[in-house]
Protein backbone atom coordinates (compact mmCIF):
# COMPACT_ATOMS: atom_id res chain seq x y z
CA UNK A 1 0.00 0.00 0.00
CA UNK A 2 1.55 3.20 -1.17
CA UNK A 3 -0.10 5.37 1.45
CA UNK A 4 1.43 3.34 4.25
CA UNK A 5 4.98 3.44 3.01
CA UNK A 6 4.80 7.05 1.96
CA UNK A 7 3.46 7.91 5.39
CA UNK A 8 6.20 5.90 7.02
CA UNK A 9 8.86 7.63 4.97
CA UNK A 10 7.36 11.01 5.73
CA UNK A 11 7.30 10.19 9.40
CA UNK A 12 10.97 9.27 9.30
CA UNK A 13 12.14 12.22 7.30
CA UNK A 14 10.12 15.03 8.77
CA UNK A 15 12.11 15.49 11.96
CA UNK A 16 15.16 15.48 9.82
CA UNK A 17 16.48 18.77 8.56
CA UNK A 18 19.46 17.26 6.77
CA UNK A 19 17.98 17.31 3.23
CA UNK A 20 17.23 20.99 3.65
CA UNK A 21 20.73 21.62 4.91
CA UNK A 22 22.09 19.82 1.83
CA UNK A 23 19.99 22.04 -0.38
CA UNK A 24 21.29 25.15 1.35
CA UNK A 25 24.87 23.96 1.00
CA UNK A 26 24.36 23.20 -2.68
CA UNK A 27 23.00 26.71 -3.24
CA UNK A 28 25.83 28.32 -1.30
CA UNK A 29 28.49 26.35 -3.15
CA UNK A 30 26.79 27.04 -6.49
CA UNK A 31 26.91 30.76 -5.87
CA UNK A 32 30.45 30.70 -4.58
CA UNK A 33 31.66 28.54 -7.45
CA UNK A 34 29.33 28.02 -10.45
CA UNK A 35 31.33 24.97 -11.52
CA UNK A 36 29.84 23.16 -8.58
CA UNK A 37 26.37 22.85 -10.07
CA UNK A 38 27.54 21.53 -13.44
CA UNK A 39 26.22 18.02 -14.23
CA UNK A 40 29.73 16.61 -14.57
CA UNK A 41 30.53 17.78 -11.09
CA UNK A 42 27.30 16.45 -9.63
CA UNK A 43 27.99 13.09 -11.23
CA UNK A 44 31.48 13.35 -9.85
CA UNK A 45 30.09 13.79 -6.36
CA UNK A 46 28.10 10.58 -6.59
CA UNK A 47 30.98 8.76 -8.25
CA UNK A 48 33.29 9.73 -5.40
CA UNK A 49 30.96 8.28 -2.86
CA UNK A 50 30.17 4.98 -4.55
CA UNK A 51 32.63 2.87 -2.55
CA UNK A 52 31.80 4.24 0.88
CA UNK A 53 28.20 4.50 -0.31
CA UNK A 54 27.77 0.84 -1.15
CA UNK A 55 29.30 -0.16 2.17
CA UNK A 56 27.30 2.35 4.20
CA UNK A 57 24.02 1.34 2.63
CA UNK A 58 24.76 -2.33 3.23
CA UNK A 59 25.86 -1.88 6.84
CA UNK A 60 22.92 0.32 7.87
CA UNK A 61 20.93 -2.69 9.09
CA UNK A 62 23.80 -3.75 11.34
CA UNK A 63 23.97 -0.34 12.96
CA UNK A 64 20.17 -0.20 13.27
CA UNK A 65 20.29 -3.26 15.51
CA UNK A 66 22.90 -1.66 17.76
CA UNK A 67 25.84 -3.44 16.17
CA UNK A 68 28.77 -2.26 14.11
CA UNK A 69 30.97 -3.79 11.42
CA UNK A 70 34.57 -2.61 11.59
CA UNK A 71 35.85 -5.29 9.22
CA UNK A 72 34.65 -3.72 5.95
CA UNK A 73 38.07 -2.35 4.92
CA UNK A 74 39.96 -5.66 4.80
CA UNK A 75 36.93 -7.43 3.32
CA UNK A 76 37.01 -4.88 0.52
CA UNK A 77 40.68 -5.61 -0.10
CA UNK A 78 40.23 -9.37 0.05
CA UNK A 79 37.35 -9.39 -2.40
CA UNK A 80 39.41 -7.43 -4.92
CA UNK A 81 42.34 -9.79 -4.50
CA UNK A 82 40.27 -12.92 -4.79
CA UNK A 83 38.69 -11.56 -7.95
CA UNK A 84 42.14 -10.88 -9.34
CA UNK A 85 43.37 -14.38 -8.63
CA UNK A 86 40.31 -16.10 -10.04
CA UNK A 87 40.65 -13.99 -13.18
CA UNK A 88 44.29 -14.98 -13.42
CA UNK A 89 43.21 -18.58 -13.16
CA UNK A 90 41.18 -17.94 -16.27
CA UNK A 91 37.73 -18.15 -14.72
CA UNK A 92 34.81 -16.47 -16.49
CA UNK A 93 33.51 -13.24 -15.02
CA UNK A 94 30.40 -14.64 -13.26
CA UNK A 95 32.55 -17.07 -11.30
CA UNK A 96 35.05 -14.31 -10.52
CA UNK A 97 32.30 -12.11 -9.11
CA UNK A 98 30.62 -14.97 -7.29
CA UNK A 99 33.89 -15.89 -5.59
CA UNK A 100 34.62 -12.34 -4.51
CA UNK A 101 31.13 -11.63 -3.29
CA UNK A 102 30.75 -15.07 -1.74
CA UNK A 103 33.86 -14.51 0.32
CA UNK A 104 32.56 -11.19 1.63
CA UNK A 105 29.25 -12.80 2.46
CA UNK A 106 30.99 -15.64 4.27
CA UNK A 107 33.09 -13.28 6.41
CA UNK A 108 30.00 -11.29 7.26
CA UNK A 109 28.12 -14.44 8.22
CA UNK A 110 30.96 -15.47 10.52
CA UNK A 111 30.87 -12.02 12.16
CA UNK A 112 27.12 -12.29 12.59
CA UNK A 113 27.27 -15.82 13.95
CA UNK A 114 29.86 -14.88 16.60
CA UNK A 115 27.88 -11.81 17.60
CA UNK A 116 24.52 -13.58 17.66
CA UNK A 117 25.32 -16.98 19.11
CA UNK A 118 28.19 -16.18 21.46
CA UNK A 119 26.70 -12.80 22.37
CA UNK A 120 30.04 -11.04 22.19
CA UNK A 121 30.28 -7.27 21.65
CA UNK A 122 30.19 -6.52 17.89
CA UNK A 123 32.84 -3.81 18.11
CA UNK A 124 35.47 -6.24 19.40
CA UNK A 125 34.36 -9.18 17.26
CA UNK A 126 34.65 -7.17 14.08
CA UNK A 127 37.86 -5.54 15.29
CA UNK A 128 39.26 -9.05 15.63
CA UNK A 129 38.04 -10.09 12.19
CA UNK A 130 39.41 -6.83 10.81
CA UNK A 131 42.84 -7.92 11.94
CA UNK A 132 42.39 -11.51 10.83
CA UNK A 133 41.02 -10.74 7.39
CA UNK A 134 43.74 -8.17 6.78
CA UNK A 135 46.33 -10.77 7.70
CA UNK A 136 44.74 -13.30 5.39
CA UNK A 137 44.61 -10.75 2.57
CA UNK A 138 48.29 -10.01 3.02
CA UNK A 139 49.18 -13.68 2.98
CA UNK A 140 47.15 -14.06 -0.17
CA UNK A 141 48.37 -11.03 -2.03
CA UNK A 142 51.46 -9.82 -0.27
CA UNK A 143 52.03 -6.13 0.12
CA UNK A 144 52.21 -5.46 -3.62
CA UNK A 145 49.76 -4.11 -6.17
CA UNK A 146 48.45 -6.62 -8.67
CA UNK A 147 47.77 -5.16 -12.08
CA UNK A 148 44.53 -6.22 -13.73
CA UNK A 149 45.15 -6.29 -17.50
CA UNK A 150 43.02 -7.17 -20.49
CA UNK A 151 39.85 -7.86 -18.57
CA UNK A 152 37.45 -5.52 -20.33
CA UNK A 153 34.35 -7.03 -18.78
CA UNK A 154 35.73 -6.69 -15.26
CA UNK A 155 37.09 -3.22 -15.94
CA UNK A 156 33.68 -2.14 -17.16
CA UNK A 157 32.25 -2.45 -13.63
CA UNK A 158 34.31 0.45 -12.33
CA UNK A 159 35.02 2.50 -15.43
CA UNK A 160 32.38 1.77 -18.04
CA UNK A 161 29.38 3.93 -18.78
CA UNK A 162 25.81 2.96 -19.44
CA UNK A 163 23.16 5.39 -20.71
CA UNK A 164 25.73 8.14 -20.30
CA UNK A 165 26.24 7.40 -16.61
CA UNK A 166 29.26 5.73 -15.05
CA UNK A 167 28.37 2.09 -14.44
CA UNK A 168 29.66 2.27 -10.86
CA UNK A 169 27.04 4.91 -10.13
CA UNK A 170 24.34 2.75 -11.63
CA UNK A 171 25.58 -0.10 -9.48
CA UNK A 172 25.49 2.05 -6.34
CA UNK A 173 22.00 3.27 -7.14
CA UNK A 174 20.88 -0.29 -7.81
CA UNK A 175 22.29 -1.54 -4.51
CA UNK A 176 20.68 1.37 -2.69
CA UNK A 177 17.31 0.75 -4.29
CA UNK A 178 17.61 -2.94 -3.53
CA UNK A 179 18.35 -2.21 0.14
CA UNK A 180 15.53 0.30 0.37
CA UNK A 181 13.31 -2.34 -1.17
CA UNK A 182 14.49 -4.93 1.34
CA UNK A 183 13.83 -2.52 4.17
CA UNK A 184 10.35 -1.55 3.09
CA UNK A 185 9.03 -4.58 1.33
CA UNK A 186 10.46 -7.63 3.01
CA UNK A 187 9.92 -9.20 6.41
CA UNK A 188 13.65 -8.78 7.04
CA UNK A 189 13.37 -5.01 6.86
CA UNK A 190 10.61 -4.91 9.41
CA UNK A 191 12.44 -7.38 11.60
CA UNK A 192 15.58 -5.24 11.64
CA UNK A 193 13.55 -2.24 12.75
CA UNK A 194 11.84 -4.37 15.39
CA UNK A 195 15.10 -5.74 16.82
CA UNK A 196 16.65 -2.29 16.86
CA UNK A 197 13.63 -0.86 18.65
CA UNK A 198 13.12 -3.60 21.21
CA UNK A 199 15.04 -6.85 20.98
CA UNK A 200 13.20 -8.46 23.91
CA UNK A 201 9.82 -7.74 22.41
CA UNK A 202 10.97 -9.06 19.04
CA UNK A 203 12.05 -12.30 20.73
CA UNK A 204 8.73 -12.63 22.56
CA UNK A 205 6.95 -11.98 19.26
CA UNK A 206 8.45 -15.20 18.03
CA UNK A 207 11.29 -13.93 15.89
CA UNK A 208 14.61 -15.63 15.33
CA UNK A 209 16.97 -12.90 16.43
CA UNK A 210 20.17 -14.82 15.73
CA UNK A 211 19.22 -15.72 12.16
CA UNK A 212 18.39 -12.10 11.43
CA UNK A 213 21.71 -10.89 12.82
CA UNK A 214 23.64 -13.44 10.79
CA UNK A 215 21.81 -12.25 7.68
CA UNK A 216 22.47 -8.56 8.18
CA UNK A 217 26.15 -9.02 8.98
CA UNK A 218 26.27 -11.17 5.86
CA UNK A 219 24.77 -8.29 3.84
CA UNK A 220 27.35 -5.95 5.32
CA UNK A 221 30.15 -8.26 4.25
CA UNK A 222 28.59 -8.61 0.83
CA UNK A 223 28.48 -4.82 0.43
CA UNK A 224 32.14 -4.52 1.39
CA UNK A 225 33.06 -7.20 -1.14
CA UNK A 226 31.13 -5.44 -3.89
CA UNK A 227 32.88 -2.20 -3.04
CA UNK A 228 36.19 -4.06 -3.28
CA UNK A 229 35.37 -5.35 -6.74
CA UNK A 230 34.31 -1.90 -7.90
CA UNK A 231 37.50 -0.38 -6.55
CA UNK A 232 39.78 -2.95 -8.13
CA UNK A 233 37.97 -2.44 -11.38
CA UNK A 234 38.25 1.34 -11.14
CA UNK A 235 41.98 1.43 -10.45
CA UNK A 236 42.88 -1.70 -12.47
CA UNK A 237 44.67 -3.14 -9.49
CA UNK A 238 44.04 -5.34 -6.51
CA UNK A 239 46.00 -5.06 -3.29
CA UNK A 240 45.79 -6.36 0.24
CA UNK A 241 46.24 -2.87 1.57
CA UNK A 242 43.11 -1.38 0.04
CA UNK A 243 40.38 -0.15 2.35
CA UNK A 244 42.95 1.15 4.81
CA UNK A 245 42.31 1.91 8.43
CA UNK A 246 39.69 4.65 8.59
CA UNK A 247 37.50 3.23 5.85
CA UNK A 248 35.18 1.66 8.40
CA UNK A 249 34.95 4.93 10.28
CA UNK A 250 33.96 6.82 7.13
CA UNK A 251 31.27 4.24 6.51
CA UNK A 252 29.95 4.49 10.06
CA UNK A 253 30.07 8.28 9.93
CA UNK A 254 27.84 8.33 6.85
CA UNK A 255 25.32 6.01 8.49
CA UNK A 256 25.11 7.89 11.76
CA UNK A 257 25.02 11.26 10.03
CA UNK A 258 21.94 9.95 8.26
CA UNK A 259 20.36 9.72 11.68
CA UNK A 260 20.70 6.03 12.47
CA UNK A 261 21.53 5.71 16.13
CA UNK A 262 24.63 3.71 16.94
CA UNK A 263 22.80 2.45 20.02
CA UNK A 264 20.22 0.83 17.76
CA UNK A 265 16.69 1.85 17.05
CA UNK A 266 15.51 4.27 14.45
CA UNK A 267 17.25 4.48 11.11
CA UNK A 268 16.81 3.72 7.46
CA UNK A 269 18.73 3.08 4.28
CA UNK A 270 17.23 6.18 2.70
CA UNK A 271 18.55 8.25 5.56
CA UNK A 272 22.01 6.78 5.09
CA UNK A 273 21.90 7.98 1.48
CA UNK A 274 21.05 11.45 2.75
CA UNK A 275 24.01 11.26 5.12
CA UNK A 276 26.24 10.16 2.25
CA UNK A 277 25.01 12.95 0.00
CA UNK A 278 25.67 15.42 2.76
CA UNK A 279 29.25 14.26 3.26
CA UNK A 280 29.75 14.03 -0.50
CA UNK A 281 28.45 17.52 -1.20
CA UNK A 282 30.41 19.07 1.63
CA UNK A 283 33.70 17.45 0.69
CA UNK A 284 33.26 18.11 -3.03
CA UNK A 285 32.27 21.70 -2.41
CA UNK A 286 35.28 22.23 -0.21
CA UNK A 287 37.50 20.65 -2.85
CA UNK A 288 36.14 23.00 -5.47
CA UNK A 289 36.65 25.95 -3.20
CA UNK A 290 40.19 24.74 -2.61
CA UNK A 291 39.69 24.27 1.09
CA UNK A 292 42.80 22.50 2.32
CA UNK A 293 42.56 18.89 3.49
CA UNK A 294 43.19 19.80 7.11
CA UNK A 295 40.23 22.15 7.30
CA UNK A 296 38.14 19.55 5.49
CA UNK A 297 38.96 16.93 8.10
CA UNK A 298 38.15 19.26 10.94
CA UNK A 299 34.94 20.33 9.24
CA UNK A 300 33.91 16.69 8.88
CA UNK A 301 34.41 16.04 12.56
CA UNK A 302 32.70 19.24 13.56
CA UNK A 303 29.74 18.42 11.34
CA UNK A 304 29.26 15.05 13.02
CA UNK A 305 29.42 16.65 16.46
CA UNK A 306 27.08 19.48 15.59
CA UNK A 307 24.57 17.38 13.67
CA UNK A 308 24.30 14.64 16.27
CA UNK A 309 24.86 16.86 19.30
CA UNK A 310 22.05 19.19 18.35
CA UNK A 311 19.85 16.18 17.68
CA UNK A 312 20.48 14.96 21.22
CA UNK A 313 19.84 18.31 22.82
CA UNK A 314 16.43 18.98 21.41
Amino acid sequence: MRVVSAGAVGRRLVPHALPLVILVIVIVFSIAQPAFIKPENLIGIVRQMTLVGIMAVCTTFVIMTGGVDLSVGPVLATAGLVSFFTMQAGMPLPIVLATGLGLGLAIGVVNGAIVAFLQLPPIIVTLATLSMVRGAALILGGPDLHLIRDEPAFTFIGTGTLFGLPFSIILFVAVTLAMIFVQRRTPLGLLVAAIGDNERAAYLSGHKIAATKVTIYGISGLGAALAGIVQSSQVHTAAATYGPFGTELDVIAAVVLGGTSIAGGSGSVARTVVGLLFLGVVSNGMNILNVPIDIQLMAKGAIIVVALGLGELK
Partner: protein
Protein backbone atom coordinates in the same frame (compact mmCIF):
# COMPACT_ATOMS: atom_id res chain seq x y z
CA UNK B 1 41.77 -5.72 46.04
CA UNK B 2 41.74 -9.40 45.35
CA UNK B 3 43.28 -10.68 42.14
CA UNK B 4 40.54 -11.47 39.68
CA UNK B 5 40.57 -14.78 37.82
CA UNK B 6 40.89 -12.92 34.53
CA UNK B 7 44.08 -11.22 35.69
CA UNK B 8 45.44 -14.51 36.93
CA UNK B 9 44.59 -16.25 33.67
CA UNK B 10 46.20 -13.41 31.76
CA UNK B 11 49.42 -13.61 33.77
CA UNK B 12 49.47 -17.36 33.34
CA UNK B 13 48.93 -17.02 29.61
CA UNK B 14 51.61 -14.36 29.41
CA UNK B 15 54.04 -16.58 31.32
CA UNK B 16 53.29 -19.60 29.20
CA UNK B 17 53.66 -17.69 25.99
CA UNK B 18 56.92 -16.15 27.18
CA UNK B 19 58.25 -19.54 28.16
CA UNK B 20 57.15 -21.09 24.89
CA UNK B 21 59.00 -18.56 22.79
CA UNK B 22 62.03 -18.65 25.08
CA UNK B 23 62.27 -22.36 24.43
CA UNK B 24 61.37 -22.52 20.79
CA UNK B 25 62.06 -19.17 19.17
CA UNK B 26 65.70 -18.62 18.33
CA UNK B 27 67.21 -15.53 19.95
CA UNK B 28 63.96 -14.78 21.82
CA UNK B 29 65.41 -14.96 25.29
CA UNK B 30 68.25 -12.61 24.50
CA UNK B 31 69.09 -9.23 25.90
CA UNK B 32 68.59 -7.45 22.61
CA UNK B 33 65.20 -9.00 22.01
CA UNK B 34 64.06 -7.98 25.48
CA UNK B 35 65.22 -4.47 24.67
CA UNK B 36 63.10 -4.60 21.53
CA UNK B 37 60.13 -5.78 23.51
CA UNK B 38 60.45 -3.06 26.12
CA UNK B 39 61.15 -0.21 23.76
CA UNK B 40 58.73 -1.36 21.10
CA UNK B 41 55.71 -1.89 23.30
CA UNK B 42 56.01 0.42 26.28
CA UNK B 43 54.26 3.24 24.44
CA UNK B 44 51.50 0.83 23.43
CA UNK B 45 51.13 -0.20 27.06
CA UNK B 46 50.83 3.47 27.97
CA UNK B 47 48.11 3.98 25.39
CA UNK B 48 46.31 0.90 26.68
CA UNK B 49 46.55 2.18 30.26
CA UNK B 50 44.93 5.41 29.14
CA UNK B 51 42.29 3.66 27.07
CA UNK B 52 41.27 1.64 30.14
CA UNK B 53 39.70 4.69 31.72
CA UNK B 54 37.05 5.35 29.05
CA UNK B 55 36.35 1.64 28.73
CA UNK B 56 35.93 1.32 32.50
CA UNK B 57 33.15 3.88 32.07
CA UNK B 58 31.50 1.80 29.32
CA UNK B 59 32.93 4.24 26.79
CA UNK B 60 35.68 4.14 24.22
CA UNK B 61 38.18 6.60 22.80
CA UNK B 62 38.81 6.25 19.08
CA UNK B 63 40.72 9.51 18.89
CA UNK B 64 43.91 8.60 20.74
CA UNK B 65 45.84 7.96 17.54
CA UNK B 66 45.04 11.48 16.40
CA UNK B 67 45.88 12.84 19.85
CA UNK B 68 49.28 11.14 19.59
CA UNK B 69 49.84 12.95 16.30
CA UNK B 70 48.61 16.21 17.77
CA UNK B 71 50.91 16.09 20.78
CA UNK B 72 53.75 14.99 18.53
CA UNK B 73 53.20 17.90 16.17
CA UNK B 74 52.95 20.40 19.01
CA UNK B 75 56.33 19.20 20.24
CA UNK B 76 57.72 19.31 16.71
CA UNK B 77 56.52 22.87 16.05
CA UNK B 78 57.55 24.30 19.38
CA UNK B 79 61.03 22.82 19.14
CA UNK B 80 61.86 23.34 15.50
CA UNK B 81 59.89 26.46 14.57
CA UNK B 82 59.76 28.41 17.81
CA UNK B 83 62.90 26.95 19.42
CA UNK B 84 61.16 26.67 22.73
CA UNK B 85 63.34 24.90 25.30
CA UNK B 86 62.47 21.25 25.85
CA UNK B 87 61.50 21.63 29.49
CA UNK B 88 58.62 23.81 28.29
CA UNK B 89 57.85 21.72 25.21
CA UNK B 90 57.15 18.58 27.22
CA UNK B 91 54.43 20.08 29.44
CA UNK B 92 52.97 21.97 26.49
CA UNK B 93 52.59 18.82 24.41
CA UNK B 94 51.09 16.98 27.35
CA UNK B 95 48.72 19.87 28.00
CA UNK B 96 47.55 19.80 24.38
CA UNK B 97 46.89 16.05 24.60
CA UNK B 98 45.09 16.35 27.92
CA UNK B 99 43.01 19.20 26.58
CA UNK B 100 42.03 17.11 23.58
CA UNK B 101 40.97 14.31 25.92
CA UNK B 102 39.03 16.75 28.07
CA UNK B 103 37.18 17.98 24.99
CA UNK B 104 36.20 14.37 24.21
CA UNK B 105 34.79 13.99 27.68
CA UNK B 106 32.98 17.32 27.47
CA UNK B 107 31.31 16.38 24.18
CA UNK B 108 30.14 13.11 25.69
CA UNK B 109 28.88 14.71 28.89
CA UNK B 110 27.39 17.96 27.67
CA UNK B 111 26.19 17.07 24.16
CA UNK B 112 25.27 13.55 25.34
CA UNK B 113 26.99 12.03 22.33
CA UNK B 114 27.78 8.33 22.25
CA UNK B 115 31.51 8.00 23.09
CA UNK B 116 32.01 6.06 19.86
CA UNK B 117 30.55 8.90 17.79
CA UNK B 118 32.10 11.75 19.74
CA UNK B 119 35.61 10.34 19.49
CA UNK B 120 35.07 9.30 15.88
CA UNK B 121 34.35 12.95 15.15
CA UNK B 122 37.27 14.28 17.17
CA UNK B 123 39.50 11.74 15.47
CA UNK B 124 38.87 13.66 12.26
CA UNK B 125 39.09 17.03 13.99
CA UNK B 126 42.40 16.36 15.72
CA UNK B 127 43.93 14.76 12.65
CA UNK B 128 42.85 17.77 10.62
CA UNK B 129 44.35 20.06 13.24
CA UNK B 130 47.61 18.16 12.95
CA UNK B 131 47.74 18.81 9.22
CA UNK B 132 46.97 22.47 9.65
CA UNK B 133 49.64 23.09 12.28
CA UNK B 134 52.16 20.76 10.71
CA UNK B 135 55.55 22.43 10.67
CA UNK B 136 56.53 20.01 7.93
CA UNK B 137 54.15 21.83 5.63
CA UNK B 138 54.46 25.35 7.00
CA UNK B 139 58.21 25.65 6.98
CA UNK B 140 60.29 24.39 4.12
CA UNK B 141 63.00 21.94 4.99
CA UNK B 142 61.85 21.19 8.50
CA UNK B 143 60.72 17.70 7.56
CA UNK B 144 64.32 16.59 7.33
CA UNK B 145 65.51 18.48 10.39
CA UNK B 146 65.83 16.17 13.38
CA UNK B 147 64.84 17.30 16.85
CA UNK B 148 67.98 17.65 18.90
CA UNK B 149 66.72 19.18 22.12
CA UNK B 150 68.19 17.03 24.87
CA UNK B 151 65.04 17.27 26.96
CA UNK B 152 63.19 15.41 24.29
CA UNK B 153 65.82 13.13 22.80
CA UNK B 154 66.86 12.00 26.26
CA UNK B 155 63.52 10.25 26.54
CA UNK B 156 65.15 7.70 24.31
CA UNK B 157 67.77 6.65 26.83
CA UNK B 158 68.76 3.13 27.83
CA UNK B 159 70.00 2.22 31.25
CA UNK B 160 72.47 -0.51 31.82
CA UNK B 161 70.90 -1.78 35.03
CA UNK B 162 72.76 -5.04 34.68
CA UNK B 163 76.10 -3.37 35.20
CA UNK B 164 74.70 -1.17 37.91
CA UNK B 165 73.74 -4.10 40.07
CA UNK B 166 76.57 -6.28 38.88
CA UNK B 167 74.41 -8.85 37.11
CA UNK B 168 76.21 -8.32 33.83
CA UNK B 169 79.10 -10.32 35.04
CA UNK B 170 76.96 -13.46 34.88
CA UNK B 171 74.60 -12.97 31.96
CA UNK B 172 74.09 -10.48 29.21
CA UNK B 173 71.47 -8.28 30.73
CA UNK B 174 69.19 -6.07 28.61
CA UNK B 175 69.50 -2.34 28.76
CA UNK B 176 66.26 -0.83 29.97
CA UNK B 177 64.75 1.99 27.93
CA UNK B 178 63.49 5.04 29.79
CA UNK B 179 60.09 4.56 28.16
CA UNK B 180 59.74 1.31 30.07
CA UNK B 181 60.22 3.10 33.37
CA UNK B 182 57.82 5.83 32.31
CA UNK B 183 55.31 3.11 31.61
CA UNK B 184 55.96 1.51 35.00
CA UNK B 185 55.55 4.86 36.70
CA UNK B 186 52.27 5.57 34.97
CA UNK B 187 51.11 2.08 35.77
CA UNK B 188 51.95 2.51 39.44
CA UNK B 189 50.36 5.93 39.62
CA UNK B 190 47.12 5.07 37.84
CA UNK B 191 46.72 1.68 39.45
CA UNK B 192 46.99 3.32 42.85
CA UNK B 193 44.70 6.14 41.75
CA UNK B 194 42.12 3.52 40.83
CA UNK B 195 42.50 1.62 44.06
CA UNK B 196 43.29 4.16 46.70
CA UNK B 197 41.60 7.39 45.71
CA UNK B 198 38.02 8.45 45.80
CA UNK B 199 38.24 9.37 42.14
CA UNK B 200 39.35 5.84 41.31
CA UNK B 201 36.50 4.33 43.27
CA UNK B 202 34.10 6.71 41.54
CA UNK B 203 35.32 5.45 38.16
CA UNK B 204 34.32 1.90 39.05
CA UNK B 205 31.04 3.05 40.51
CA UNK B 206 30.09 5.14 37.48
CA UNK B 207 31.14 2.41 35.06
CA UNK B 208 29.57 -0.42 37.03
CA UNK B 209 26.23 1.19 37.82
CA UNK B 210 25.71 4.73 36.58
CA UNK B 211 22.37 5.18 38.29
CA UNK B 212 23.70 3.94 41.63
CA UNK B 213 26.62 6.32 41.33
CA UNK B 214 24.35 9.23 40.59
CA UNK B 215 22.08 8.40 43.50
CA UNK B 216 25.10 8.06 45.78
CA UNK B 217 25.83 11.69 44.99
CA UNK B 218 28.89 11.07 42.81
CA UNK B 219 29.58 13.78 40.26
CA UNK B 220 29.35 11.51 37.25
CA UNK B 221 30.02 14.24 34.71
CA UNK B 222 33.27 15.33 36.29
CA UNK B 223 34.36 11.70 36.62
CA UNK B 224 33.68 11.07 32.95
CA UNK B 225 35.53 14.15 31.75
CA UNK B 226 38.50 13.31 33.96
CA UNK B 227 38.63 9.77 32.58
CA UNK B 228 38.87 11.02 29.00
CA UNK B 229 41.40 13.65 30.05
CA UNK B 230 43.60 10.91 31.51
CA UNK B 231 43.27 8.96 28.29
CA UNK B 232 44.43 12.04 26.38
CA UNK B 233 47.29 12.59 28.79
CA UNK B 234 48.55 9.04 28.29
CA UNK B 235 48.35 9.52 24.53
CA UNK B 236 50.51 12.62 25.03
CA UNK B 237 53.16 10.65 26.90
CA UNK B 238 53.15 7.98 24.23
CA UNK B 239 53.54 10.68 21.60
CA UNK B 240 56.61 12.14 23.30
CA UNK B 241 58.22 8.72 23.50
CA UNK B 242 57.60 8.18 19.81
CA UNK B 243 58.89 11.63 18.88
CA UNK B 244 62.03 11.06 20.92
CA UNK B 245 62.65 7.80 19.14
CA UNK B 246 62.02 9.19 15.65
CA UNK B 247 63.60 12.57 16.47
CA UNK B 248 60.78 14.01 14.38
CA UNK B 249 57.04 13.80 14.05
CA UNK B 250 54.70 13.18 11.15
CA UNK B 251 51.09 13.92 10.38
CA UNK B 252 50.35 10.19 10.27
CA UNK B 253 51.87 9.45 13.67
CA UNK B 254 49.67 7.11 15.71
CA UNK B 255 47.40 6.03 12.88
CA UNK B 256 45.50 2.90 13.82
CA UNK B 257 46.95 2.79 17.32
CA UNK B 258 43.53 3.30 18.90
CA UNK B 259 42.40 -0.11 17.77
CA UNK B 260 45.56 -1.82 19.02
CA UNK B 261 45.23 -0.02 22.35
CA UNK B 262 41.59 -1.05 22.65
CA UNK B 263 42.58 -4.60 21.82
CA UNK B 264 45.31 -4.56 24.49
CA UNK B 265 42.87 -3.17 27.06
CA UNK B 266 40.24 -5.80 26.26
CA UNK B 267 42.82 -8.59 26.28
CA UNK B 268 43.91 -7.15 29.62
CA UNK B 269 40.48 -7.90 31.04
CA UNK B 270 38.82 -4.50 30.92
CA UNK B 271 35.19 -5.28 30.22
CA UNK B 272 33.36 -3.28 27.57
CA UNK B 273 30.28 -3.43 29.75
CA UNK B 274 32.03 -1.17 32.20
CA UNK B 275 33.23 -1.19 35.79
CA UNK B 276 35.48 -4.24 35.48
CA UNK B 277 39.23 -4.21 35.01
CA UNK B 278 42.41 -2.46 36.02
CA UNK B 279 45.26 -0.69 34.29
CA UNK B 280 47.61 -3.51 35.17
CA UNK B 281 45.81 -5.93 32.83
CA UNK B 282 45.98 -3.67 29.77
CA UNK B 283 49.73 -3.14 30.27
CA UNK B 284 50.19 -6.91 30.37
CA UNK B 285 47.89 -7.15 27.38
CA UNK B 286 50.10 -4.82 25.39
CA UNK B 287 53.25 -6.77 26.23
CA UNK B 288 51.49 -10.04 25.53
CA UNK B 289 50.82 -8.78 22.03
CA UNK B 290 54.48 -7.75 21.88
CA UNK B 291 55.78 -11.13 23.02
CA UNK B 292 53.64 -12.93 20.50
CA UNK B 293 54.52 -10.63 17.62
CA UNK B 294 58.26 -10.66 18.33
CA UNK B 295 58.28 -14.37 19.08
CA UNK B 296 56.49 -15.28 15.91
CA UNK B 297 58.78 -13.05 13.90
CA UNK B 298 61.79 -14.84 15.34
CA UNK B 299 60.14 -18.15 14.52
CA UNK B 300 60.00 -16.94 10.96
CA UNK B 301 56.21 -16.71 10.94
CA UNK B 302 55.09 -14.08 8.52
CA UNK B 303 53.91 -10.79 9.86
CA UNK B 304 50.61 -11.47 8.14
CA UNK B 305 49.94 -14.63 10.08
CA UNK B 306 50.64 -12.59 13.18
CA UNK B 307 47.79 -10.28 12.33
CA UNK B 308 45.47 -13.24 12.10
CA UNK B 309 46.71 -14.47 15.47
CA UNK B 310 46.23 -11.04 17.02
CA UNK B 311 42.60 -11.16 15.97
CA UNK B 312 42.25 -14.67 17.32
CA UNK B 313 43.73 -13.66 20.67
CA UNK B 314 41.29 -10.76 20.88
CA UNK B 315 38.37 -13.08 20.19
CA UNK B 316 39.71 -15.53 22.74
CA UNK B 317 39.99 -12.79 25.34
CA UNK B 318 36.41 -11.60 25.04
CA UNK B 319 35.20 -15.16 24.68
CA UNK B 320 36.88 -16.02 27.97
CA UNK B 321 35.40 -12.94 29.62
CA UNK B 322 31.95 -13.94 28.38
CA UNK B 323 32.46 -17.44 29.73
CA UNK B 324 33.13 -16.03 33.19
CA UNK B 325 29.95 -13.96 33.03
CA UNK B 326 27.87 -16.96 31.99
CA UNK B 327 29.38 -19.02 34.77
CA UNK B 328 28.57 -16.31 37.30
CA UNK B 329 24.97 -16.30 36.13
CA UNK B 330 24.80 -20.06 36.49
CA UNK B 331 26.16 -19.79 40.02
CA UNK B 332 23.39 -17.34 40.82
CA UNK B 333 20.82 -19.77 39.46
CA UNK B 334 22.24 -22.59 41.55
CA UNK B 335 22.17 -20.33 44.57
CA UNK B 336 18.51 -19.55 43.97
CA UNK B 337 17.83 -23.25 43.69
CA UNK B 338 19.58 -24.07 46.96
CA UNK B 339 17.64 -21.50 48.82
CA UNK B 340 14.28 -22.83 47.63
Amino acid sequence: MSVRPTTLALLLFFGTTFLFFSLFAPRFATASNMENLMSGFSFLAILAIGQSFPILLRGIDLSIGAIVALAGMVAFDLTLIFHVPGYLVLPAALAAATLAGTLNGALIVYLRLQPFIATLATLAVYRGLVYSISGRQLVRGLSTTPITDRWITDLETYYDLGSAVGLSRFIKFPWFPLSFFVMLALLAVFQSVLITTRFGRDIYAVGGNLEAARLAGINTRRTTIAAYAICGFCAGIAALILVARLTTSTEALGTGMELTAIAAAVIGGVSLSGGVGSVFGPAIGAFLLGVILLGLTLLGVSQFVQQILTGAILLGAIGYDRLLVVRRQRRTAVFLAERA
